[in-house]
């Protein structure tokens, strides 16, 4: 079943009547994803496109529709609150697409969801897709192909680039997880690697990191002793100047830490198949899988 989401996932959208929430819910539904509810305070009782019931609260939506995944498109000032609302309502998987949430708000929301048995993806991420089964997020569905390569990345379009390359070399994807470009995020590289390692439908993983923080190093330290599947790795930002925020709130080399070379070194130490050119991700994965007898 790949990881995180599949055909049986029961999804709700928080912020379903906003322009981005409405547009992307429609796109995800066209892809065949199973949306069971929407939430917009004050619009409870209405229907979204005549197909999906809208509720005032996540708690009510979960009670009536048994939704177990929430896709969040709530504007930044209110998004951290939306994450906590979903966690409190018992949603098992929260995918927060919203970009621009104040870091202090996320520090609180992050603390709040600990111990509640909830998994958060994002924020500031493209979402999660299990090709052919469920698309929860803003990625273009048509570039994906069902298959056996897992993809985890902090970036949006760079993930599409990797997926496009995989599809071009004839490799499909089990699940693609965009973990987000913010300094405070729910699921990190290490968590995604663990999920893929335990997934019988994933044979290999593309791991895409970027400058800032040390999440890639932490994931590699774990992978070194525990990962049984091959990883192809790339780090974006080897040419980025220190002290500047490269678009993503979390992409900054500060105090001599978070640079690409340290991350590449951690990858090499963990036996990751590193590519220094972002154009080689798909090609290298094909070579690695052939060498390991996986295709």
């Amino acid at each position: 079943m790949a990881v995180l989401v599949d055909k049986n996932s029961r999804i709700l959208t928080q912020g379903i009547t906003g322009s981005a929430g409405a547009f992307h819910t429609r796109m995800c539904m066209e892809y065949g994803t199973n949306f069971v509810a929407g939430v917009t305070p004050g619009k409870g009782g209405q229907w979204f496109d005549g197909k999906v019931p809208i509720f005032n609260t996540v708690a009510e939506a979960v009670k009536i529709t048994a939704a177990n995944v929430s896709m969040i498109f709530v504007p930044p000032p209110f998004a951290a609150d939306a994450i906590m609302e979903a966690a409190d309502a018992g949603v098992a998987l929260i995918v927060c697409i919203t970009e621009g949430i104040p870091a202090n708000d996320m520090v609180k929301a992050w603390a709040y969801i600990q111990g509640k048995g909830v998994r958060l993806i994002g924020p500031n991420c493209p979402g999660v897709i299990t090709p052919g089964a469920a698309k929860i997020g803003i990625m273009p569905g048509h570039i994906h192909t069902p298959g056996r390569v897992g993809v985890v990345s902090r970036s949006g379009t760079l993930t599409y680039e990797a997926v496009g390359q995989l599809t071009a070399v004839g490799l499909g994807q089990s699940t693609c997880i965009g973990i987000g470009g913010d300094p405070v995020i729910g699921t990190r590289h290490i968590d995604a690697l663990q999920l893929f390692n335990d997934d019988p439908d994933t044979d290999a993983v593309i791991m895409i990191g970027e400058i800032g923080g040390s999440a890639e190093e932490d994931a590699c330290a774990w992978a070194k002793d525990n990962m049984t599947k091959p990883i192809v790795g790339f780090i974006a930002g080897a040419t980025a100047p220190p002290g500047r925020r490269m678009g993503h709130a979390g992409a900054i080399i500060s105090g001599g830490q978070g640079g690409a070379e340290d991350k590449y070194a951690a990858m090499l130490a963990a036996g990751v198949h590193v590519v220094r050119s972002p154009a080689d991700m798909g090609k290298r994965m094909r070579e690695v899988m052939e060498a390991e007898g996986l295709i």
């Binding site: 520090v107 709040y112 970036s155």
Partner: protein, 413 residues
């Protein structure tokens, strides 16, 4: 968003952090008046620029190039006066302000171009028995706020981390209840501040900078040095505060303090169109959608032997106007010898990008080669529009193809 020292100190003062009295001045007369109002017989005049290393920095107008190069290289002792000057008379204050205001300060962090000083802070001196370092920041490894301190004040924390990591003490705030008073006391004792007055003063300062961090939506509050006097008074002698750009919507007063003269004019112009732009040293201008792909585009240009002129993320939902603005900003840079447009359409449709490119070229003309790579949503339609436009655009199919073509174009092949 970075703040000037005088702005940072104003915020700290509001949250109970003791800072030396001082006033910002934009003219020599204001600086002298500020010193007179402060009274006493000792003042410090400090250039207000965001870059660090002000004290060891030197002014372009009065220094020869060998000295400036030594400053940029990080030399410890260079002759002359810098961006922080100690003054023992009104004449000294006047001379210091005159040397700084409207002049260009070169520091280790500014590079040889330096930055113009538009404002100075005139402040009283402090009695210094001990210098310490203290900061509040986000610890990304555990998503909690961290109070970090060291007895090696006056030194950059990165240096301490390298040479004497044991000197750095850390405590983490609870994300719901905040930083406990006991944690602040504990930190003071761990730093060896045992006198009642100094330990109390330090604990109060720690709490104050934590509260400043929370109340102002900071991403960093750094006091370096925090000084303790002979009789145990604790004060924040220097302060650096940066604010979370994502929280400026609710920090309206601080947002109004934004000093656009500190940023590259092209970056300021880009921000007005919601474009994320950073100027770099190379000659291949880039326009890309998405931060990760934009960084990767820079990386692959370098991989093929070229040098990127900028980072530019047009964002996920950019329209024709933004694409046009982005191209205009890139073409305004005279060092750009080729432009690479790399778009992987998701939400953003490649045909819309193509229309933006065509409109920009039609309106502004184009005197450098333009390589365009379109992939994803409506890529074929976009490519067709570009081909039919009659413009001399170099089409590329893949990321590698695009980078190679851009690098060759610069080389004149």
């Amino acid at each position: 968003m970075k703040l000037h020292e005088y702005q940072a100190k104003e915020l700290l003062r509001r949250h109970g952090v003791p800072v030396p009295p001082g006033e910002a001045a934009k003219t020599v007369a204001e600086a002298v008046a500020a010193a007179e109002a402060l009274g006493g017989n000792f003042w410090v005049v400090k250039a207000q620029v965001h870059a660090g290393g002000r004290g060891k920095g030197r002014f372009k107008e009065v220094s020869d190039s060998a000295i400036l190069e030594a400053v940029v290289a990080g030399a410890a002792d260079v002759p002359g006066k810098g961006g922080v000057q100690l003054c023992r008379s009104m004449e000294d204050v006047r001379a210091a302000a005159q040397m700084m205001l409207g002049k260009t300060l070169v520091t280790k962090q500014t590079g040889i171009e330096g930055v113009e000083v538009k404002c100075v802070l005139v402040t009283t001196g402090a009695d210094i028995a001990q210098e310490l370092y203290v900061a509040v920041l986000l610890d990304r490894t555990n998503s909690r706020l961290l109070l970090m301190a060291s007895t090696e004040g006056g030194t950059e924390i990165e240096e301490v981390a390298e040479h004497n990591p044991g000197a750095i003490k850390k405590v983490w705030a609870d994300s719901v209840t905040g930083l406990g008073d006991w944690q602040c006391r504990q930190m003071a004792y761990e730093l060896g501040l045992t006198s009642k007055k100094a330990s109390r003063g330090a604990a109060k300062l720690f709490k104050g900078i934590y509260e400043t961090y929370i109340a102002t939506d900071a991403t960093m509050v750094e006091i370096n040095p925090m000084v303790v006097s002979e009789d145990g008074d604790v004060v924040a002698l220097d302060a650096k505060v940066a604010i979370d750009d994502n929280a400026l919507f609710r920090q309206k007063e601080i947002a109004s303090w934004y000093d656009e003269s500190e940023d590259d004019p092209a970056e300021v112009a880009a921000a007005k169109y919601n474009l994320s732009f950073i100027k770099l040293d190379g000659n291949i201008g880039c326009m890309v959608n998405g931060a990760g792909l934009a960084m990767s585009t820079m990386d692959i240009i370098k991989f093929y032997g070229g040098e990127p002129a900028n980072f530019l993320d047009v964002g996920g939902g950019a329209g024709k106007e933004q694409v046009k603005a982005a191209l205009e900003i890139i073409t305004r840079d005279p060092t750009v010898k080729c432009i690479l447009v790399n778009i992987f359409g998701g939400i953003m449709r490649c045909d819309v990008i193509a229309e933006g490119v065509i409109a920009a070229v039609a309106e502004t003309g184009l005197n450098v080669p333009l390589v365009v790579r379109l992939a994803g949503t409506n890529a074929e339609l976009g490519k067709q529009l570009l081909a039919e436009s009659g413009l001399s655009i170099i089409p590329a199919d893949t990321l590698a193809d695009a980078a190679e073509k851009a690098v060759s174009a610069v080389a004149g092949k």
